[in-house]
C-alpha cells in the first residue's frame, strides 16, 4: 500500500497545529521584539486547564476552549503590565532570562500542584477515526486542525481588517511612526502579549486530547515554535504559516520514510534552527531584524 496519502494528510493536520503553536510567538516577537520563552509553559497551562475542566466537571475541551482563551489573554495582560513592560528597553539577555524564569516558575508550580504524572483528556472524538480512501483520519487530530484553522484565520482577519489589528501591524513596522498616528503603543503591546499568550493556551487545549499532558510538555514545543518562527522569518505571520508547514512535512515524511524515522523527526527542529541561523538568518519571508 502506498503510504504517501497517509503521510501527506498527517503532515497537513500537524501543520495546522504547528501554525497555531508558533503564531503567538511570532506575533509577540513582531510587535514587542521579545521572544517569550515562557510560551511553552502557557501551552502546558492550557492543556492542564482543559484536563481539569474535563476530569472534574466533564466539560468538553472544545467548550472550555473559549473560556481558557480569555483566561490566557488575562494572564498575558497581567504578565505584561507586571513584568514584561519593565524590560522592554533592557538588553535581550535580560528579557530572555526573565521570560525563561517565568516559564521555569510556572513549570515548578505545576509539578507541585499536579505532580509529574502523565495525563490526557479523553473526549469521544480523541480516539475514534474514519477511513477515507487509503487514509486513516483520527477524529481528534481533525478536530484539533479545524480549531487551529479557525483561530489562525480569526487572528489574520483581525490583524488585516480591524482598527486595532491594523494598529498592531503598524507598531510592529514602525513604532515611532505609529505613535504619530495616535496609537497608544503600550496598549498595543499589552494586547499583543495577551493575544500571544491566549494563542498558546489555545494550543494547549487542542493538544490536550492528542498528546500526553505533563508539566514538562512545554519546552519541546517551544523549541519547535522557535524553529518555525525562525524558518518563516521572525515576526512575519505568513512566514510562520509556511514555516509550520515546512516543519510538519519534514517531520512527518522523515518518520514515514526513514528507518527509525520517528526518532530522527524530533531532531529536525534543532537542525533547522542551526542550519537557518548559519545560512539565512532572516528566514524565508522575514526582514532582517536588528538586535
Amino acid at each position: 500500500m502506498d503510504i504517501f496519502p497517509q503521510a501527506f494528510s498527517d503532515a497537513i493536520l500537524l501543520a495546522g497545529l504547528y501554525t497555531l503553536m508558533a503564531v503567538g510567538l511570532s506575533l509577540g516577537f513582531g510587535v514587542l521584539r521579545i521572544i517569550n520563552f515562557a510560551q511553552g509553559e502557557m501551552i502546558m497551562l492550557g492543556a492542564y486547564g482543559a484536563f481539569w475542566l474535563f476530569t472534574l466537571m466533564g466539560v468538553d475541551p472544545l467548550i472550555s476552549l473559549p473560556l481558557l482563551v480569555v483566561a490566557g489573554f488575562a494572564l498575558g495582560w497581567v504578565l505584561f503590565h507586571g513584568v514584561v513592560a519593565k524590560v522592554l528597553d533592557a538588553p535581550h539577555i535580560n528579557q530572555i532570562l526573565l521570560t525563561f524564569g517565568i516559564g521555569l516558575a510556572i513549570q515548578h508550580v505545576a509539578i507541585i500542584l499536579w505532580t509529574g504524572n502523565a495525563r490526557s483528556t479523553t473526549p469521544d472524538y480523541a480516539t475514534t477515526s474514519s477511513v477515507v480512501g487509503d487514509v486513516l483520519l483520527v477524529h481528534g487530530r481533525v478536530t484539533a486542525f479545524a480549531a487551529a484553522v479557525v483561530m489562525v484565520a480569526a487572528l489574520i482577519a483581525w490583524l488585516q481588517w480591524s482598527e486595532t489589528g491594523r494598529a498592531t501591524r503598524a507598531v510592529a513596522e514602525n513604532r515611532s511612526a505609529a505613535v504619530l498616528m495616535g496609537i497608544d503603543v503600550n496598549r498595543i503591546y499589552a494586547l499583543s502579549f495577551g493575544v500571544s499568550c491566549a494563542l498558546s493556551v489555545a494550543t494547549g487545549v487542542v493538544v490536550s486530547f492528542i498528546l500526553t499532558i505533563t508539566p514538562f510538555m512545554g519546552f519541546p514545543m517551544l523549541v519547535k515554535a522557535i524553529a518555525i518562527v525562525i524558518l518563516g522569518g521572525l515576526g512575519s505571520i505568513a512566514g510562520t504559516v509556511l514555516g509550520a508547514f515546512a516543519l510538519a512535512f519534514a517531520e512527518t515524511f522523515v518518520s514515514y520514510y526513514l528507518p527509525e524515522g520517528s526518532g530522527w523527526a524530533e531532531g529536525i527542529a534543532f537542525v533547522l534552527i542551526i542550519g537557518i541561523l548559519l545560512v539565512r538568518p532572516r528566514g524565508i519571508l522575514g526582514q532582517a531584524v536588528e538586535t
Partner: protein
C-alpha cells in the same frame, strides 16, 4: 488672542547633550510659520518635542492655551497635532490606502474619515491612482505626498511638516508646495521645517531661525528674506550694507488671520 501653539523657554536634548537651550516661539490660528536653521540646529528636535516623541527637560509647550508638555504623544494627535515626520516614515508594507487609514486612527478623525479621504485624494490625485500600491514601492515624491496626506487624515488643528522637500526633484517640490498652499488656503495652521529657504519664505507668513539652540532671528517672510543673518547663513549672499536687520528680536507679531 492666545496663540494656537506657544513654546516658552523650551529646553530639550538627547541623553546628556542639550540640543534646544532656550526656545520660545508662537504660532497663531491660521498662520503658516517656517522654522529655518542649519543642519543639526534642532529643527527636527523641535517638531519631536511638540508632537511628544521627546519629553522637554524644562519649559512649556502650550497648545490652545493648555500646557501639553506632560501629555503622551498619542493623545496629542487626538488634540489635533499631526506631524509629517522627517524622512517620511510611511509604513512600507502597507498599501497607500491603509497608510491613510492609519492616519485617521484617532477617534475624532475616524468619524470624519470619508470626508478626509475625499479631501486627501482630491489634493493628491497621484495617491488615488496608487491606493492599492505598497507604500514602500512608491517614489520619494509620492511617499512625501503620502506622509502629508496621512497627517491630514488626522484632522489636524496644527499640521507640522518636517522637510517636505527633502530629496525631491524641483518639479516635485513645486507639486508638494502647491498642495501645501492649497491646504493653507483653507485656514489650517501649519508649522514647517525647510532647508530650501527660498521656497519656505515664499509659502510662509512668518519664520524663525534656529541657531545654537536658540531663536537667532524671527520675523515676517519679507523681513527674513532681507535679513543679513539669513542671507549669510542660507542664501550665500555677501552681507550688504543696505540690508535691513530689523528681524532680530523675538516676536515680530503678524496679525492672526
Amino acid at each position: 488672542m492666545t496663540a494656537l501653539l506657544e513654546l516658552a523657554n523650551l529646553r530639550v536634548g538627547y541623553g546628556q547633550s542639550v540640543v534646544l537651550q532656550d526656545v520660545s516661539l508662537e504660532l497663531h490660528q491660521g498662520e503658516i510659520v517656517c522654522l529655518l536653521g542649519a543642519n543639526g540646529a534642532g529643527k527636527t528636535t523641535t517638531t519631536r518635542a511638540v508632537s511628544g516623541l521627546l519629553a522637554p527637560w524644562s519649559g512649556e509647550i502650550r497648545f490652545a492655551g493648555e500646557n501639553i508638555a506632560s501629555i503622551p504623544a498619542h493623545k496629542r494627535v487626538e488634540l489635533g497635532i499631526c506631524l509629517s515626520p522627517e524622512g517620511r516614515q510611511v509604513f512600507p508594507n502597507f498599501s497607500v490606502h491603509e497608510n491613510l487609514l492609519l492616519g485617521s486612527y484617532s477617534k475624532k478623525a475616524r468619524q470624519r474619515r470619508a470626508e478626509m479621504f475625499d479631501e486627501v485624494y482630491g489634493l493628491f490625485p497621484r495617491l488615488a491612482e496608487r491606493r492599492t500600491q505598497k507604500a514602500g514601492l512608491m517614489s520619494g515624491g509620492e511617499q512625501q505626498m503620502l506622509a502629508i496626506g496621512r497627517a491630514l487624515m488626522g484632522c489636524p488643528r496644527l499640521l507640522m511638516l518636517d522637510e517636505p522637500s527633502l530629496g525631491l526633484a524641483p518639479k516635485i517640490i513645486l507639486d508638494v508646495y502647491e498642495a501645501v498652499a492649497t491646504i493653507a488656503k483653507r485656514g489650517l495652521s501649519i508649522l514647517f521645517v525647510e532647508q530650501n529657504v527660498q521656497a519656505a519664505l515664499l509659502v510662509a507668513h512668518r519664520g524663525y531661525v534656529l541657531a545654537n539652540g536658540q531663536i537667532a532671528a524671527a520675523g515676517t517672510s519679507a523681513e527674513l528674506q532681507n535679513s543679513t543673518l539669513v542671507q549669510e547663513a542660507f542664501l550665500g549672499k555677501k552681507p550688504s550694507l543696505l540690508a535691513t536687520d530689523g528681524a532680530r528680536g523675538h516676536s515680530a507679531a503678524v496679525p492672526a488671520i
